[in-house]
């Protein structure tokens, strides 16, 4: 076992402390150390976007960031954008527009879309497509996803 570092950060509003090898990615740390398995790993080289999480409000690929780099950060995963009682407006919109099939890429699209709509609730279809082009979905063909994100804009307008 290589040497380890203790890293403290916040995940979905709760403080966490992990003792991990410096080479461990944030994605593996979230999934295997913290058991937040909603963040999925699809390529491990920063192309597919399935592992996208929010770090201090920005959409970040958790496979391209080391867990130790999260020191002091506020990390939000798909679990942090969900609740037991009901689907959120963004999630409802995904369901309504059949914006998912196998569901594997879905958490990455939810986090990416949430970051976009939080910053730019007035974005147009071209902007949605541009931002979502960093995430790969192999099932839906994206039409439903883009419609879902556009339809969810109203919920993000202040």
């Amino acid at each position: 076992m290589g040497w380890r570092m203790t890293t403290k950060f916040e995940v979905n509003g709760k403080p966490v402390s992990v003792n991990v090898e410096p080479r461990m990615t944030l994605a593996d740390c979230l999934r295997h150390e913290l058991r937040l398995t909603g963040t999925h790993v699809g390529c491990e080289h920063g192309v597919c976007g399935a592992c996208t999480v929010l770090v201090d409000g920005e959409a970040v690929r958790a496979c391209l960031m080391l867990a130790v780099q999260a020191e002091g950060a506020k990390v939000v995963t798909v679990e942090g954008l969900s609740n037991d009682a009901d689907l959120t407006p963004l999630q409802k919109s995904f369901r309504k527009h059949h914006a998912l099939q196998c569901g594997f890429c879905t958490p990455g699209f939810i986090t990416t879309a949430h970051a976009l709509l939080t910053e730019e609730p007035d974005c147009d279809a071209d902007r949605v497509r541009e931002v979502l082009s960093g995430n790969i979905c192999r099932c839906t063909g994206y039409i439903g996803i883009v419609e879902a994100v556009l339809d969810a804009r109203a919920a993000y307008k202040k």
Binding site: H98, G103, L132
Partner: protein, 759 residues
């Protein structure tokens, strides 16, 4: 019937967990005492294994064991074929781990088991593998020379020729007034799933029970394979289907790892997990598609197709995998597509090469056949100076000709016929949707530096492979009902669809069907799984049979409690009613009935694609202005998910048409080993796509009237895009003859056209 859930666009019940990140995919399952496996793979495409020394690796931190072929007494087991398991293929099947020879880059050589996946991978560089390299067979044209053979004892690289025959093609050609011959080829693609593959296995020595997590697609069949390989009866093997991150034909087939990981668990007595990484996935998961056709079409001067004749060559990669023969078989049987062709003669050769082995990818052989024939129809129409749409109208099969017999394939003696439908109808509808009178004026026009082109093609999609599917209904303790199925989910929404069918059949609310369980071997007595667009038709029809049996059993049990005749008992949501009394359904908890659907025939849905594109001659770049798919699916159980299948498969098809190609060099080294090299469609690539689902002609071969409909978008995308490009560049005489239509290929075609014009 009281309910009409069938036919409603219903939101999916699966979504509730997936959207919250609560799906449970195989890598999400953790067990105490787990060992992680990493697989050392060959970096050499073709060679003799001289020695493997794992001793240094065993001393590496965290390493528990290293497994090689030497750990398997009598040599590693062979992975047998599932579909078309002909004796001729036997010598070409893959050993579960490399033994004596390696035949492709990516072939498993050793399995390292360690405390973490990273430690297992760290140990790779401590394994000494000595391989004597042999000349690589890089494609089918090299393979046919037989200078270097993959399987020494066979003496040839050709594993099979499928012969597809109808009528007397040679006689028809001899008297034909017009013949066109072309050579066309498709790229090498694969059913890349966003979730890489994964297997976890546990061995309970006390109970003698082997449990496999991560099963998908065909778990019952795979259990039988593993049972024979590992020497345990099927009752001592349980396959558990977790959520599955995409299938597309590639995932869930039995791969070498599906033996190696259970073997490792039994070998060590510890739970073992292997999760594929993306680089592995690109070289280990089944490849598909790379086919070349040398094709002749005979026609009357008015464009009536008289006969099709020719040969197809498929680059099979290194081994015959479980479903590896399907594409090469299908391309021969379905070369005529939805058209009336009285005489067919196609010889389809399967060539073994030093590449990742081939399996199916959504629309196997059909994507290729559609590209080959549809490309030729446009070329023929142009040469005969007839309208290419009229030529299609003239040859499309009509309702009064159904059932329509198609070519028979040898040596499997596969006799088949189309089931129902009026094929010209979807073409007319697609032309109407795209506003043909308006867009047709743009054909070949140069507007603002871009050429406009329209592609028009028609297709046929097979579905509903038999022989059987099983479903079971059971009353739960709370008075709800559970549905168990032998078919599997690969993400297509079967939980919702089967709940719709069961609720309609039982005339209860859809919420009453509380759980829909599928895929795992413990649920029903037998199952066949999710392939060949079969789940809805086969599983759904089995649900109908189970519902009948279940209602009969409830009536009988209810009659005893209510003291009336069984015929007088009705299921009334949460109670049984009869003789003026009622009894709660929950009091029959545990009552269960199975149902089956047996089928030897296939369904054939059909449709048309019309694409309006532009081509930028400076960049060779294609842009889609509008794209319409119209497909008649017999009966749409859930129009929302059918349309999802249509658009989703269309974008996969567009990937194959313009982006995707697994490239190798002459030494059998893959050149597209990452997602930065193997290009997939992105959200910004194809924004303007539309789908129209029709259900005018139900299938006569199943009680639902449904037809398999998972491939309609993908099958015709290559042909449609290539025809659109040809149409756009018709003034320059450009004729694409291969896929993908990459900017580089289009630019090259334009350069050739320019040179020709200069001469």
């Amino acid at each position: 019937m009281k309910n009409t859930f069938i036919g409603q666009p219903m939101e999916r019940r699966e979504d509730l967990r997936f959207l919250r990140g609560r799906g449970e995919y195989v890598d999400d399952v953790a067990l105490p005492g787990l060992l992680h496996a990493a697989i050392l793979r060959s970096s050499v495409a073709h060679g003799k294994i001289k020695s493997i020394d794992t001793s240094a690796a065993l001393k590496r931190p965290g390493v528990h064991t290293v497994i090689t072929a030497a750990d398997m007494p009598g040599g590693p087991p062979i992975v047998p074929m599932r579909l078309q398991p002909l004796p001729e293929f036997k010598p070409f099947e893959q050993p579960a781990i490399a033994h004596e020879k390696v035949r492709y880059v990516g072939e498993p050589i050793a399995v390292v088991l360690a405390a973490t996946a990273a430690q297992a991978e760290d140990a790779f560089d401590a394994i000494e593998v000595e391989i004597e390299e042999l000349p690589a067979v890089a494609d089918w044209t090299v393979a046919q020379r037989n200078n270097s053979v993959l399987f020494d004892k066979q003496g040839t690289n050709r594993s099979m020729v499928f012969e597809s025959r109808k009528g007397d093609a040679d006689a028809a050609f001899a008297s034909a007034p017009y013949v066109r011959k072309e050579r066309l080829r498709t790229g090498r693609h694969y059913g890349l799933t966003m979730e890489p593959r994964g297997v976890m296995a546990t061995w309970d020595a006390a109970k003698g029970m082997l449990t496999i997590y991560g099963a998908a697609k065909v778990p019952f069949f795979n259990r039988r394979i593993l049972s024979a390989q590992i020497g345990l009866p099927v009752e001592q093997i349980e396959m558990i289907e977790n959520d599955v991150g995409g299938g597309y034909g590639a995932r869930g087939e039995f791969y070498p790892e599906d033996f190696l990981i259970p073997f490792a668990a039994r070998h060590t007595g510890r739970p073992v997990k292997w999760i594929e990484d993306r680089r592995e996935n690109l070289i280990a998961m089944n490849h598909a598609r790379e086919e070349e056709a040398i094709l002749e079409v005979a026609c009357a001067r008015d464009g009536t197709i008289l006969a099709i004749r020719g040969e197809v060559h498929t680059d099979m990669g290194a081994y015959m995998r479980t479903n590896g023969a399907v594409g090469a078989r299908n391309v021969s049987q379905f070369m005529a597509g939805p058209y009336r062709v009285p005489h067919v003669k196609i010889d389809s050769s399967l060539w073994m090469t030093n590449k990742t082995p081939v399996g199916t990818y959504r629309g196997p052989g059909r994507f290729e056949a559609n590209f080959f024939l549809e490309r030729m129809i446009d070329m023929i129409a142009e040469e005969l100076r007839i309208d290419r749409i009229d030529m299609r109208r003239r040859n499309l099969i009509t309702a009064k000709e159904q059932p329509y017999p198609i070519a028979t394939v040898q040596p499997t003696n596969a006799v088949d016929e189309y089931d129902s439908g009026h094929y010209p109808e979807t073409l007319e509808r697609a032309l109407q949707e795209i506003d043909w009178p308006r867009v047709s004026k743009l054909q070949g026009k140069l507007v603002d530096g871009k050429y406009h082109g329209i592609g028009v093609v028609c297709f046929i999609e097979g579905g509903a492979a038999g022989p059987k599917e099983t479903a079971r209904l059971e009353v739960n303790g709370d008075g709800t009902i559970s549905l168990y199925l032998g078919t599997s989910s690969v993400g297509q929404g079967v939980e919702t669809i089967f709940a719709q069918i069961a609720a309609d059949a039982l005339e209860v609310s859809i919420e009453r069907i509380r759980h829909v369980h599928h895929g795992s071997t413990a649920y029903v007595s037998d199952g066949y799984g999710a392939y060949h667009s079969r789940s809805t038709v086969m599983g759904g029809s089995a649900v109908l049979d189970a519902a009948n049996n279940f209602l009969a059993a409830l009536r009988e049990a209810g009659a005893k409690r209510l003291g009336c005749d069984a015929n007088a008992v009705t299921l009334d949501e949460d109670k049984l009613t009869g003789g003026g009394k009622s009894v709660p359904l929950r009091e029959f908890a545990g009552l269960t009935q199975e149902g089956v659907f047996l089928n030897k025939k296939h369904t054939y849905s059909y449709g048309s694609h019309v694409a309006h594109i532009t081509v930028d001659p400076k960049l060779g770049r294609i842009e889609i202005i509008d794209y319409v798919v119209v497909q008649d699916v017999g009966r749409a159980i859930n129009p929302l998910t059918v349309k999802g299948q249509m658009i989703g498969s269309l974008v996969q098809g567009l990937g194959g048409a313009v982006l995707e190609d697994l490239k190798y060099d002459e030494n059998g080294q893959i050149l597209t080993g990452s997602l930065a090299d193997y290009l997939l469609p992105l959200a910004s690539d194809f924004p303007n796509l539309r789908g129209v689902v029709l259900d005018k002609y139900p299938s006569p071969i199943n009680p639902l009237g449904a037809k398999g409909a998972g491939e309609g978008g993908i099958i015709a995308a290559g042909g449609c895009m290539a025809n659109a490009v040809a149409n756009a560049l018709s003034s320059l005489g450009v004729q694409p003859r291969q896929l993908p239509l990459s900017p580089a290929y289009i630019w090259e075609l334009l350069q050739q056209a320019g040179r020709k014009a200069a001469e």
